[in-house]
């Protein structure tokens, strides 16, 4: 049967991974190329095997195989075909298998071709990455096996088991429980794979870094080799975070997009250190400095990715007690601790390898700016960590349960992000080795004046609180500098080669993708910054309970409440209007919709119907808003329900929020530019000398 086939494929994948791990270590320590080659091939074989295992789950979902516990939990007879496929990652055990599969894709891509260079690193890169993969496959098999089937014992009790218990018979449920309604939304279908792709990709740079230490490789070749896979992982991690924010905004209905919730935080934590690493490793490549820092950053990224997987996959964080119940806790935390302790021990053993080639010459140098950048990323990382794990620790230590709310995070993280934005502007202008204050002053006085002008203007027109003006001022400052960098390059090309400005612009980027792609990511972040400051500080919120025909005023908008519609398939309350709501929706959901009209002077009225989607199995609800988007702001309406003939409407005006999404898109494009391969021949003729020149 297909389920048996899947289980067998999973077990063989585990064996292949273990074999590859052992052969890589033997090959590396005994210097036997044949062993290493065999390890490489076995590592590559894991992807097809895991693909087979994933397909087995999908086929089981598609064929209504409710004797498989996993299919029983995530699918049912009314689940559409598409959702039966995505249900592969709709439950805990399947998602860990899927997570494994995504990791095997990275491993496949890195090892599918025989390596021509860095052959000294190869066995160790294999060992670290396939070792991690082997751990997670074993975890799947022994603690979260999606191939467990339902068995009935002699007394008629049903329990899941991978193998048939003595005296039991296979049990096939009449129907499944169906996919968690939260996971039926397109945003929630695509967001987890993106985040997982970002997570699992971090194993590659970590493997390279550890390999360089073990193989005593003093060159930069590992940094160059791991750059692109790291950017791929970073891109997916960023996309996962952005899509998660967008999904929350679109369906969760609290008017926001980021709630500093432990699950969000645990995805943000590895992103913070990975971002710092991507920056800081440039200094190691160019100047041979910050080697210890970089090892620390990539180790933290990797081990917090493990921790994040644990937190997001098991929902452990809400309480210490659910942690004790989860059978995954001990293996996950052991692996996390092992990765940390192992990497630190290795760093200590190889400390001679991590000595800096150069000294920091001045505080006003590119090197120092990058150091500060890593420092600020680490303090943010530390802040978010304390906030996330504080409640767990406090419950353990004092017995009192407490939580840290979003205002505390905003207040703490805000100033640190402001420091990053300032660095984003200044750092590219500061010269390597040592910069003179005069030279730097010459380059930044114009943007600085502009920034101060923006601050004063905002302050005068009453931007409140004061740090809103400061925030916009800092964004203006860095935005002006970044755009000037593009303009300078463009104009120089135009003058030198006579290309028109558009051509000069595209060639400028194409010829130096790393630099200008990087600046584009900065632009994206700055544009996002405008959206964050705006929506966080200028949000307007009102709530009214209205009788049909009643009106409420929100800013320039007049909202007229028409009527409510309640559809509940479980009680048969299904009027003719309900049909339209159930075209693509399961009958395990009740709908409470509020029809209303939005009017604004000089514009045609718009009709919206925000609604509540209540899951009849009691697992929760969604409150998708009715949104009227304009360039400057979103009018975001929620219908909270109808009681005693009154419909309750919550209205938000979210100013500048479009900037957040547009900035996100710019960031993604910038990352794609930065990681696009540059043909080697072109690299020589790259680009302009940098503006910042060192003083000798």
């Amino acid at each position: 049967m297909i389920v048996d086939l899947g289980l067998i494929a999973l077990v063989i994948a585990a064996l292949a991974a273990i074999y590859s791990f052992v052969m890589a270590i033997l090959g590396g320590t005994q210097k036997r190329p044949a062993y290493i080659e065999s390890a490489r091939r076995a590592a590559v074989a894991v992807l097809p095997l895991l693909t087979l295992a994933c397909l087995a789950i999908i086929v089981s979902n598609l064929t209504d195989n409710y004797s498989l516990e996993y299919t029983y939990r995530v699918s049912n007879s009314t689940t559409p075909t598409f959702l039966r496929i995505t249900a592969l990652w709709g439950g805990q055990n399947g998602s860990i298998l899927f997570w494994n599969w995504l990791m095997s894709i990275y491993i496949f891509c890195v090892f599918v071709r025989p390596w021509k260079s860095n052959r000294d690193l190869l066995p160790w890169v294999i060992a670290v990455s396939i070792g991690t993969q082997a751990f997670f496959i074993l975890l799947t098999i022994f603690f979260a096996n999606p191939f467990a089937r339902l068995f009935a014992d002699a007394a008629g009790n049903i329990s899941p088991s991978v193998f048939m218990p003595a005296g039991a018979t296979l049990f096939r449920a009449a129907d499944g429980q169906g996919l968690n309604p939260l996971l039926r939304h397109p945003g929630m279908i695509i967001h987890p794979p993106m985040l997982y792709l970002g997570f699992v990709g971090l194993v590659i740079p970590f493997a390279y870094a550890i390999a360089a230490l073990i193989a005593k490789n003093k060159t930069n070749s590992w940094i160059i080799a791991m750059r692109r896979p790291t950017l791929v992982a970073w891109l997916f991690l960023s996309l996962g975070l952005l899509l998660g924010a967008r999904w929350a905004y679109d369906v969760l209905g609290w008017g926001g997009y980021w709630g500093w919730d432990p699950v969000e935080n645990s995805a943000l934590l590895p992103w913070l250190t990975a971002t710092a690493f991507l920056h800081s490793v440039i200094i190691q490549e160019k100047r041979g400095m910050f080697k210890i820092l970089n090892m620390v950053l990539i180790t933290l990224s990797f081990s917090w990715m493990i921790l994040g997987t644990f937190v997001t996959r098991t929902g452990v964080i809400s309480s210490v007690h659910s942690f004790a119940r989860s059978s995954l806790g001990v293996p996950f935390l052991s692996f996390w601790a092992f990765s940390l302790v192992g990497a630190i021990t290795l760093m200590a053993i190889r400390s001679d390898l991590l000595k800096s080639d150069n000294k920091l010459e001045s505080f006003l140098s590119r090197e120092a700016m990058f150091l500060l950048n890593s420092f600020v990323f680490l303090t943010i990382w530390f802040t978010v960590n304390v906030g996330t794990y504080y409640s767990m620790f406090s419950e353990l230590l004092t017995g009192e349960k407490l939580t840290i709310g979003p205002p505390v995070y905003n207040q703490l993280v805000g100033p640190q992000v402001a420091a990053l934005i300032l660095l984003m502007g200044i750092a590219p202008l500061v010269a390597w080795h040592k910069s003179s204050p005069e030279a730097l002053g010459k380059m930044i006085w114009k943007p600085a004046v502009l920034a101060v002008a923006v601050m004063v203007l905002l302050f005068v027109i009453g931007a409140n609180p004061i740090f809103v003006a400061i925030g916009f001022g800092l964004v203006t400052f860095s935005l002006a500098i970044t755009l000037t960098e593009y303009w300078r390059g463009m104009r120089a090309r135009h003058k030198l080669s006579g290309e028109n400005y558009f051509k000069a612009f595209t060639h400028l980027i194409a010829r130096n993708r790393r630099r200008y792609g990087g600046y584009m990511i900065h632009l994206g972040v700055l544009v996002m910054g405008i959206g964050v400051i705006g929506s966080l500080n200028f949000q307007v919120q009102t709530q009214r309970s209205l009788a049909p025909g009643g009106q409420m005023q929100v800013g320039p908008y007049t909202i007229t409440y028409e009527r409510a519609l309640t559809c509940d398939p479980s009680t048969g309350q299904m009027s003719a209007d309900c049909a339209a709501w159930y075209i693509e929706r399961g009958r395990d959901i009740a709908i409470v919709a509020g029809y209303m009209t939005i009017e604004k002077a000089g514009q045609a009225p718009v009709r919206v119907a925000p609604y509540r989607e209540i899951f009849l199995n009691g697992t929760g609800e969604l409150t998708p808003p009715g949104v009227l988007s304009t360039v400057g702001e979103d009018l975001y309406l929620l219908f909270l329900g109808e009681q005693s003939g009154f419909g309750t409407i919550k209205a938000y005006i979210n100013p500048l929020i479009q900037f957040l999404w547009v900035g996100g898109i710019i960031l993604v494009i910038g990352t794609l530019v930065a990681m696009w391969p540059t043909p080697t021949a072109r690299r020589q003729t790259a680009a302009l000398p940098e503006r910042a020149v060192a003083v000798k």
Partner: protein, 144 residues
């Protein structure tokens, strides 16, 4: 690295840690049971906390006042419903459907007012009976 740079970074790190610790301990939100809340009593007035307890269904009252939803209900610790002084929750929001379920658990976030009522900013309801999703009974068995 020169000692003065290290010293600079260490000072900055210390400042950040100090900021985090002070502002978190000042703003952390405690999660109490009704018993714990009464034990702390007046010291908690106007402080932002979370409380959870079992909803006393008969106490639920909902109306619309001045175009604002107004919900009032009482909670008590699930094992002490009969003996404990219940906590009255006042919430300016719609009445959740689950509030009338026999074993509804409410988690509210807000502050204890001087009037002895708890003024909730957010209200979350859980229904333990609905959360148990166990395997079907043999009786449900209709196909092989």
């Amino acid at each position: 690295m020169k000692p003065k740079y290290l010293l600079g970074l260490a000072l900055m790190a210390a400042a950040v840690v100090f900021l985090i610790v002070t502002s978190m301990s000042a703003n952390a939100q405690y999660f109490y049971t009704v018993d714990e809340l009464w034990a702390k009593g007046q010291s908690l007035v106007d402080q932002n906390v979370r409380v959870s307890g079992a909803v006393i269904n008969a106490s639920t009252k909902f109306e619309v006042r001045d175009n604002q939803p107004y919900l009032e209900f009482e909670i008590a610790d699930a094992d002490k419903v009969a003996t404990q002084k219940p906590l009255r929750i006042v919430y300016n929001g719609p009445k959740p459907d689950l509030i009338n379920e026999p074993h509804a658990q409410a988690i509210v976030e807000g502050h204890l007012g001087a009037d002895g009522n708890f003024h909730a900013d957010t209200l979350l309801l859980k229904c333990p009976s609905r959360y148990e999703e166990e395997f079907p009974n043999q009786v449900d068995k209709t196909s092989g």
